[in-house]
């Protein structure tokens, strides 16, 4: 158990992969646009986790800097995304993601 007692980067990367996969599945199966956004946040967090893990592995602060930017962009993305959701749902209160299909070819 000595080897297992050491938390290696691989553990973190596997956790990140699992988190990303769950988030990805969520985007694909959920219909509520708000929940789809939350799932996207899960995927972003998975990536952040792997970035920090790599930062620690390679002993390089740039990985953490990138996470900082991801956080900022995620915040902007959520703000705009929720603005769009509000604008849409105000007109059609019961809409889910499948009801908004005006771009059908």
């Amino acid at each position: 158990m000595i080897a297992a007692a050491d938390v290696t980067p691989t553990w973190y990367l596997l956790l990140a992969a699992a988190l990303f996969a769950i988030g990805c599945t969520g985007v694909l199966v959920r219909r509520n646009p708000l929940v789809m956004f939350m799932c996207i946040e899960l995927m972003l967090n998975a990536v952040n986790l792997s970035f920090v893990a790599f930062s620690r592995t390679y002993l390089d602060i740039k990985g953490q800097t990138t996470v900082f930017f991801v956080l900022v962009v995620a915040a902007a993305e959520v703000v705009v995304g929720l603005g769009i959701v509000v604008a849409i749902l105000r007109r059609r209160p019961s809409a889910n993601a499948d009801d908004i299909a005006e771009l059908k070819g």
Partner: protein
Amino acid sequence: MLNVIWLIPLLPLCGFVINVVLGRRLGDPKSGLLAAAMCGAAFIVTLVTYFDLVSRPEEARQHVATIFSWIPVGGLSVDAAFLADPLSITMALFITGIGTLIHLYAVGYMHGDPKFSKFFVYLNLFAFSMLMLVLGENMLVTFLGWEGVGTCSYLLISFWHTRESAATAGKKAFVTNRVGDWGFMIAMFLAFQAVGSLSYSALNSAAMGGTLVRSTATAITMMLFLGACGKSAQLPLYIWLPDAMEGPTPVSALIHAATMVTAGVYLMVRVNPVIATAFTWAPAVIAIVGAATALFAATVAVAQTDIKKVLAYSTVSQLGFMFLAVGSGAYVAAIFHMVTHAFFKALLFLGSGSVIHGMHHEQDMRRMGALRKLMPITAGTFIIGWLAIAGVPPFAGFWSKDEILLAAWAHPTNPALFKVLWGVGLFTALLTAFYMTRQVIMVFFGKARWEDHSGDHGAHGDFKPHESPAIMLLPLVALSGLSIVGGVLNLPFTDSTKRLLHWLEPLVHFGEIEGHASAGEKWGLAVGTAALCLASMGVAIFVYQRNRAQAVEPQILADGWRYDRFVSWFMGHPGRQAFEATAWVDRNIVDGAVNGVATGVRRSGAVLRRTQSGFVRNYALLIGGGVVLMLAWFLLRAVGVFG
């Protein structure tokens, strides 16, 4: 100061931008005064540049100010550059100077017009384009200005576009000019092909150095001349200019008399070494076209009844004189006449505008008469303009016209042809004196015929012509002063009084053809011409003032030799068939290919559109699937490498 010549076109451009943005708010008359101030500032900068240029030694009087590299593509490198040399600065001086006066005049003339500020937007844009044209260091910058003035001309001719005739006249001017522009473009292509550059200095030095092939030089000359014919209203492309009188009168004065229409002459003078390199028949063609246009337009002017139409045909005729000078190799005389013509023709147009203004937009000379008492200043200045254009010494027109006739008379290489052209020119000068006298008498002397028609103007119960406001009279007085003394630019008496000749000498000495005429010949020609012109004026007074003889004004002359109708017929019948044939090719072959492509795209689109379900989750699924496939590919590759 030469480094800031870009300021000259920039100032009117600023006026244009300010008036576009704030023009409506500034309103009448502030936006007009702003435009005039910008033009005046450009004049001052030009004046300073001029003095700087004068203070330099002769060989240093040339400066190229490059603003930026405009089109650096492979072998073609065109800079947005301005050229300051005696010729361009001379042009810029009278463009900005007369332009300022006309801007001021327009403030009075356009007063109360609902589109007042828009008028000055166009006018400043015109000044900018015209300055680009003359200051351009290469043909492309000139062409930019060339098209710019064409556009402004179109916009200003059809300024009162609610009037059907004005809209049509604008379109006519635009379309006719395109024919000439085509020539200009071909000339540019040829120049690039021959010397690999579009700059005037490269083209001219190639011509002077003998590296420009003679046939190429001839082709460039003829194509540029075609362009000049369009812009400067020469046969066969003159037809737009008389119709252009539909525009407001300040426009007629600025664009269709003083500046834009002289662009063709400027261009020919600019490339004079190329013309000198061409076969000798090329300048002869230019001279013949010029003389023919001069005579043709003068005969038409004799029978016109519209006050502005007379001046329009007169302008065409005087431009013909300038081309006669160019063809005779007398470039300085051409520029000299251009300048004096700008003075007196702008004066005459502005005077006619003042008359039209005072007559409440009546343009028919048959309804005028005896206006000198009611409009003394307009009448006085108009009479000065009349004496100047008729060639009465010592007014400006006499000197320049005499120079041109002398150049034709003394042409050394082809005396027989040029003697004939001289005869045509002389006869045209006599006709000019005749029809201008006719106009002055019909408008300002004789019986007051407007009283008979006062009833026509229903709204104005007591119709009475009135003198124009001071802001319109000031430019008239200034221009009449210039029309009197304009001749001092280039007096032929001694070498030192030929100021314009010395000034332009370095630019034209390669192309300038020196005629051989003894002093006696010169004096005889000058005195003889002046005497004949006076006699012609006497005949006109005899006919129109004293009514001693029946006026001969055949209808065919009033119709402009029915040339206009011929063009319409030609375009309507044989031309139309050619257009129909072209249209058929376009419809069935060009469109067929295009439609075939479109059909193919539509069919494939119909298949592919099924992937566009519109469901965002569906798209996400496709992206996810793609990610999985790409991951698999990377992984397999990596494992393969490691394994």
